[in-house]
Amino acid sequence: MPSYFRITLLRSAIGLPSKSTGVLKALGLRKRMTTVYFPVSQDVAGQIMRVKELVDVAEVEKPLSKEEMREQRRPEKGFYVERRARTRLEQGIF
């Protein structure tokens, strides 16, 4: 069962040593809140160790494409009724 690291850049590396900037570039993290997926390996673990204060890491079963991640953020369509107007009237809430 292959597993992946989901890495999200939370803090920028502005003003930090060029090594951390370089690691972020190598991981493909250019802007904050970008997410990348890498198979679990020692190399990637070492890279994450270098920038551990800046990123969020989780182990996931399969990588998601950009469209799939976007779909996850999308709110559900339509609406639901919390309470009918009639019942509000009967209860005396205006």
Binding site: A13, V40, I48, D56
Partner: protein
């Protein structure tokens, strides 16, 4: 005397930043959160690699040497060693980039 252009220390003397000498409790809370976040990342890496029977030297070293947020003393959490300061300790927010660097260990005896 009063008004927008009154003579204050920052206006008359050029660069004068006022950083309080101690952390507020909210700063402390956020600092603890950051420490815990790093601890979580370490455990995630360790678990993921251990499933494959792997580990890395750097990871092992961190686990052996670095205390977790819970194990750290308040003194080490919120202050750092500084040889220029009276009693050799200054608040952690005086450390450059303190929200983005790991500073957990201090020289023994200080």
């Amino acid at each position: 005397m009063f008004g927008a252009f009154r003579l204050t220390q920052p206006l008359s003397g050029g660069l004068l930043w006022k950083i309080p000498w101690r952390l507020s409790r909210h700063q402390k809370a956020r600092h603890r959160e950051r420490l815990q976040r790093v601890d979580n990342i370490i455990s995630t890496l360790d678990n993921a690699l251990a499933k494959k029977g792997l580990s890395t030297k750097q990871l092992e070293r961190w686990k052996n040497e670095m205390p977790t947020e819970q194990e750290m003393l308040p003194k080490d959490k919120y202050t750092v060693f500084d040889r220029k300061v009276k009693r050799y300790r200054k608040a952690i927010h005086k450390l450059p980039k303190w929200t983005r660097v790991s500073q957990r260990l201090n020289p023994p005896g200080f």
